[in-house]
């Protein structure tokens, strides 16, 4: 619910530091609409050459794993070594794996 001193909705900000790289979560901001959100994100997170790409997403649209589910959700099957592709040699030049 909005009150008179509302700062707007919460939005999550993702920055791509170079073309071709993946977008990384940078933080969150308040804003009242899409244009306002992308500009606030620009003014707070990308004023010092941090990026060449910018996404904003309404925080409420992000689906997250609940904290109390994280145990069984993330537990890696460490005893099944065939699940971990650690036997391969990476070709030279592959940097973002």
């Amino acid at each position: 619910m909005k009150t008179a001193d509302s700062q707007g909705e919460l939005w999550e900000v993702f920055i791509q530091s170079k073309p071709g790289q993946s977008f990384k979560h940078a933080g969150s901001i308040h804003a009242f609409d899409k244009d306002n959100a992308i500009e606030n994100a620009r003014d707070i997170y990308t004023r010092r050459n941090e990026g060449t790409g910018l996404w904003v997403v309404p925080s409420k649209e992000i689906i997250a794993v609940a904290l109390n589910e994280s145990d069984y959700f993330f537990e890696p099957a460490t005893d099944k070594i065939y699940r971990h592709p650690t036997f391969y040699n990476l070709p030279e030049g592959v940097t973002h794996m």
């Binding site: 707007g8 804003a31 306002n36 003014d43």
Partner: protein
């Protein structure tokens, strides 16, 4: 004072005084993000002002610095337009003042890139990127407030009505404007006025806002005759170098 110097001071004073008004609002923004965004605009403008003052200070060849021009001139020596010195009053006034001046700066700096004065064309080119962004932000705020709540629409319309009388001055030609236009270094202000009218009409239309019909106008800034607000601004801004002339950064 030679006309080139006067022309430089018009540009730098506009940027400095508007920047100072925005800086005054730092920590008083409506919310954190907007506070920072406003400070960013102030920093862009102070960068522009500093570059132009530094160049202007060299002109008279009397060992003057940019600081002298900012801190050791009197009110009547400042050549900024009256609109830039108008006080913040509320967020609607701040946004409206910014929008009206951003729309002017945008067309003005595009035209100034064609200047025969290499410094002016370079600084215009450099500023244009920043000014384009400023105009985008302030245009959206005009529309957002105009189409927001009843209160925001009411306040933004009051701000437009209050500040409107200072807009004709932007397009009035001072001696410096005339001389610099004649020698190919300046800008034709009647062209700028057409583009400004178009932009302002467009944004106010989108914001469901009325253009004031009142033709009353106030002028004088370009000749150093200011509203009562500039003196107060300078008193605060110039206090420290006035009291401690040897203070250094």
């Amino acid at each position: 004072m030679n006309t080139t110097l006067k022309y430089y001071l018009q540009i730098a004073d506009n940027a400095l005084i508007l920047s100072h008004r925005l800086a005054e609002n730092t920590s008083k923004g409506p919310f954190l993000e907007e506070d920072l965004a406003g400070a960013n605009v102030a920093l862009d403008l102070i960068g522009l002002a500093e570059a132009v003052y530094t160049e202007a200070a060299k002109m008279e060849n009397q060992g003057q610095t940019a600081d002298d021009l900012v801190y050791r001139r009197e009110e009547k020596e400042f050549l900024n337009c009256l609109l830039s010195e108008q006080p913040n009053r509320d967020f609607a006034h701040l946004v409206t003042r910014q929008f009206l001046l951003d729309a002017f700066n945008y067309s003005y700096f595009i035209a100034l890139t064609e200047s025969k004065d290499p410094f002016l064309s370079a600084i215009a080119f450099k500023s244009l990127k920043e000014v384009t962004y400023h105009l985008r932000r302030s245009s959206e705020w005009m529309i957002r407030l105009g189409t927001g709540t009843e209160e925001s629409k009411h306040r933004i319309q009051i701000a437009i009505n209050t500040l409107w009388k200072f807009t004709p001055e932007l397009f009035e030609e001072s001696d410096a404007d005339k001389a610099m236009l004649a020698n190919g270094c300046g800008v034709n202000l009647s062209d700028i006025q057409q583009q400004w009218d178009q932009k302002v009409n467009e944004i106010l239309f989108l914001g469901h806002l009325d253009i004031p019909k009142n033709k009353f106008s106030v002028r004088g800034g370009k000749e150093g005759i200011h509203t009562e607000h500039l003196g107060h601004l300078l008193a605060e801004m110039q206090f420290l170098p006035g009291k401690y002339p040897d203070a250094v950064w």
